[in-house]
Symmetry: C2
Subunit: 229 residues, 2 copies
């Protein structure tokens, strides 16, 4: 039971559609410029959007969750720790989002940002920018913390069964999906590394400020709706 995986080539962002047997659906991390594409998929597949879910307040692209809510009647869900006030569902660790007999479990996985969450649907894990394929998100802004990310991954994500499929929020090398077992044993940043080593590694990255952060972050805190204050 894989999700439908959609890609934004500009920001290398993955969006996911999860479909229930009764035609209800959820979308994870939709991107503003692909709103029409995503609606076309829902239409062609005969799906009714029940929920739009955010893994965190993104710094590199703008969400379409607000717009999708306006156009479909879906409910917008965002992690409570991300300052996304217009989302009517403020997600807490352990919450379960239900649609059409499906369950999406919320795991609070701080580190990339303080509020970041991952979503578990059946045997599929949507990691946002917490755990990437053979990598992980940066931890140097929005309350990010390398120590927190290390703990989130070790205690919550690597605790899941090895065969759990990992669907990341981004990939910059053309990869689409991984597994917890593979990442636990092979992830270049996290596998077999101590917490202190990982913190030192992340501190040494010295990355430039994301180009879009000054625009994207305030926009995403309004669910991408420019006219909402």
């Amino acid at each position: 039971m894989n999700p439908i995986q959609l890609f934004d080539a500009e920001s290398s962002t993955y969006t996911y559609i999860l479909a229930a047997a009764n035609g209800e659906a959820a979308i994870i991390d939709p991107v503003d410029r692909h709103c029409e594409r995503d609606l076309a998929h829902l239409r062609r597949l005969g799906l009714r959007l029940a929920y739009a879910l955010e893994t965190h307040a993104h710094a590199d692209h703008v969400t379409s969750s607000g717009r999708l809510r306006e156009l479909t009647g879906a409910r917008a869900c965002a992690p409570s720790g991300c300052g996304i006030a217009p989302a009517e569902v403020q997600l807490e660790d352990g919450d379960v989002v239900r649609f059409g007999g499906e369950e999406v479990r919320v795991l609070h996985t701080p580190g990339h940002t303080a509020g970041s969450v991952s979503f578990l649907w059946r045997t599929n894990l949507f990691t946002g920018d917490t755990l990437l394929i053979d990598g992980c998100g940066r931890t140097d802004f929005q309350g990010g913390s390398a120590g927190d990310l290390y703990d989130s991954v070790r205690d919550k994500l690597f605790a899941l069964p090895d065969e759990t499929r990992v669907w990341p929020g981004h990939d910059y090398r053309g990869q689409s999906v991984s597994t917890i077992g593979w990442e636990k044993r092979n992830n270049a940043r996290l596998a077999g590394r101590s917490r202190d080593d990982f913190i030192a590694l992340m501190a040494a990255l010295d990355l430039p400020q994301p180009k879009m952060i000054d625009v994207a972050l305030p926009a995403n805190r309004r669910l991408g709706l420019v006219h909402t204050v």
Copy 2:
């Protein structure tokens, strides 16, 4: 039960990985330059490649089926009417490819090329270049025929249940998946059009020769293996 869908941005080609519960897998229309990417997916997901399947002899990219066979021991399957001699399994209409309890049914759907097939796996249809999302493949070379394509789509593909998911061989507009029901009612080239109208429409397209055909076609008839005569 969706496939894993992978994309080649250069030729806008989709490759699909189908996974069985026991870890056996099949790949449809793999692309030469993504051989490593595709192997990485198999590795990360713990899959053993049983079959590499071709929908037809492509004119716009080179397959990696031969190379994947060498590296994984998979068996190469190609439509009998495509002149792909090194494929040990020559597929005929109605054949069923079996791996790990899964069944892939072969539908001979001539029109884009004389030998083109589609594959049906559970409720997923892999249409190669026969039926595209809101379009269809061209019919002006390799024994292509607009009349044949029309008959293939009407008699074999549109005869499938409306909810059958359509996974195309290409998409040039960022779309990933459709359904038989939607294409039957909305496909810009095929929905509600008579056979004669469709033939006239395809004849009027007047498309340029595919840039890569002189390289790709002979290479694909050798499963992408340059050293195989």
